[in-house]
């Protein structure tokens, strides 16, 4: 395996990760394993690479106001809490049932997302009190629609619970858990697809950092192997960040649903084979 190949295979994962709000680990790990990389190095490198996608795409998204920083800051508290609890629980709970539990959650998200596939923008008539108190709202210029989209979020507390669950999944399975986060944004908080993807990408770096720090201090990061992947993911995520705002919300959702379906299959498959 050589450095150029690693950079090249990481770029598409970075692009898709940035567009769908997933970080890209869910795509990268199987590709690396197929290339013959030992699973432990595939997972550790993907964790660092997810942080790269997060920062690479967020650099552009924040500037274009696609990322909602206040929403991100509020939900980070929950996802970090979940990630820490998850990392502790991993010691006590066997992985097999976890894959089924999380697989079930993703299946429910998949069904709900499919129902909303043709919806361009969600409408929240009235915010709940906490969402309003925390000013969970925002606006961005949608290049595809050619207009400024203003949106308000709702169900702040339930969204927080969802984020704890996303953090748990991240901490217990050693993943960035972007599929969980985007589902919470879209289905519970009623955020439009593009800010959902970009805000999820922003937060995902924080959850992945929790996992990556464990690998760093355990000496599981191979510098010569991880650096080209990080470089490829950074380049890919910057390309993806330029593409996202030009797509329709429906297209973003379709891309997400396809990756979600793949994640469900992967999760259940691991549940059976682990």
């Amino acid at each position: 395996m050589d450095i150029l190949t690693l950079i090249l295979v990481s770029i598409p994962s970075g692009i898709l990760g940035a567009i769908a709000g997933l970080g890209g680990g869910v795509i990268l790990v199987p590709v690396l394993v197929m290339m013959g990389v030992p699973i432990k190095y595939a997972i550790t490198s993907s964790m660092v690479a997810v942080i790269a996608t997060s920062s690479g795409s967020a650099a552009a998204y924040v500037r274009r106001k696609l990322t909602n920083i206040r929403v991100a800051m509020f939900l980070e508290v929950f996802t970090i809490t979940g990630a820490i609890i998850g990392a502790i629980l991993t010691v006590y709970i066997p992985p097999k049932p976890l894959y089924f539990i999380f697989g079930l959650f993703l299946t429910a998200s998949l069904i709900s997302m499919r129902k909303r596939i043709s919806e361009e923008l969600p409408i929240v008539e009235k915010q709940d009190r906490i969402s309003s108190w925390l000013r969970l709202e925002g606006d961005y210029f949608d290049e595809n629609l050619g207009m400024i989209v203003r949106y308000k979020l709702t169900n702040a507390l339930l969204g927080g619970v969802g984020m704890v669950f996303a953090g748990l999944a991240g901490g217990m399975l050693g993943i960035g858990a972007g599929v969980f986060k985007v589902s919470v944004f879209e289905l519970i908080l009623k955020m439009p697809s593009k800010p959902s993807s970009s805000t999820s990408n922003f937060i995902i770096g924080m959850t992945a950092l929790a996992g990556a720090s464990v690998y760093l201090f355990s000496g599981l990061i191979q510098a010569y192997f991880v650096a080209p992947i990080v470089t490829g993911m950074l380049i890919g995520s910057m390309i993806g960040a330029r593409i996202l705002n030009k797509l329709s919300n429906r297209t973003v959702r379709i891309i997400f649903i396809m990756i979600l379906l793949y994640a469900v299959i992967q999760m259940l498959y691991r549940g059976v084979t682990v």
Binding site: M1, D2, I3, L4, L6, P38, Y41, V48, I51, A52, S54, S55, G56, A58, A59, V62, R63, K65, I69, R70, M73, F74, E76, V77, I80, T81, I84, W133, L134, R135, E137, G205, M206, L209, A210, A212, S213, V214, L216, F217, S218, G219, L220, I221, Q222, A223, Y224, F225, V226, A227, P228, V230, T231, L234, I235, M238
Partner: protein
């Protein structure tokens, strides 16, 4: 609604700086790796290429592929940490105490996580 423009600008600046610094160091490190290994781009997994903080800081004053690539990875890892800290300072400055508490909680959780390891 209070304007977030300066926070967005500041965070964007931190992220762009982190990303660019990481890419530049990574490219330089990979070029050095190519030269150090007699024009070979093949990599293998071994103990020598493991990123260890202790080893990195001992070698930090030397310019070689290991230190440059390690620095590139460490910058990627610590960029989100820096942006949480900066956001916390920003919210303190504008006296938005709800968000000071939220960012402070995240910052402390991350710091404890690092210290525990």
């Amino acid at each position: 609604m209070r304007n977030n423009a300066s926070l967005e600008k500041m965070i964007s600046y931190i992220l762009v700086t982190g990303v660019l610094a990481s890419i530049i160091l990574s490219f330089l490190g990979l070029i050095l790796y190519y030269l150090e290994n007699r024009l070979c781009l093949e990599i293998s997994f071994n103990e020598q290429s493991t990123l260890l903080l202790g080893r990195f800081f001992i070698q930090a004053n030397r310019v070689n592929s290991y230190t440059l690539l390690s620095a590139s990875i460490l910058i990627v890892l610590f960029t989100p940490y820096v942006r949480v800290f900066t956001s916390m300072i920003y919210f303190m400055k504008i006296k938005d105490y709800k968000y000071v508490i939220l960012t402070f909680t995240v910052f402390i959780a991350l710091t404890i996580m690092f210290l525990v390891h």
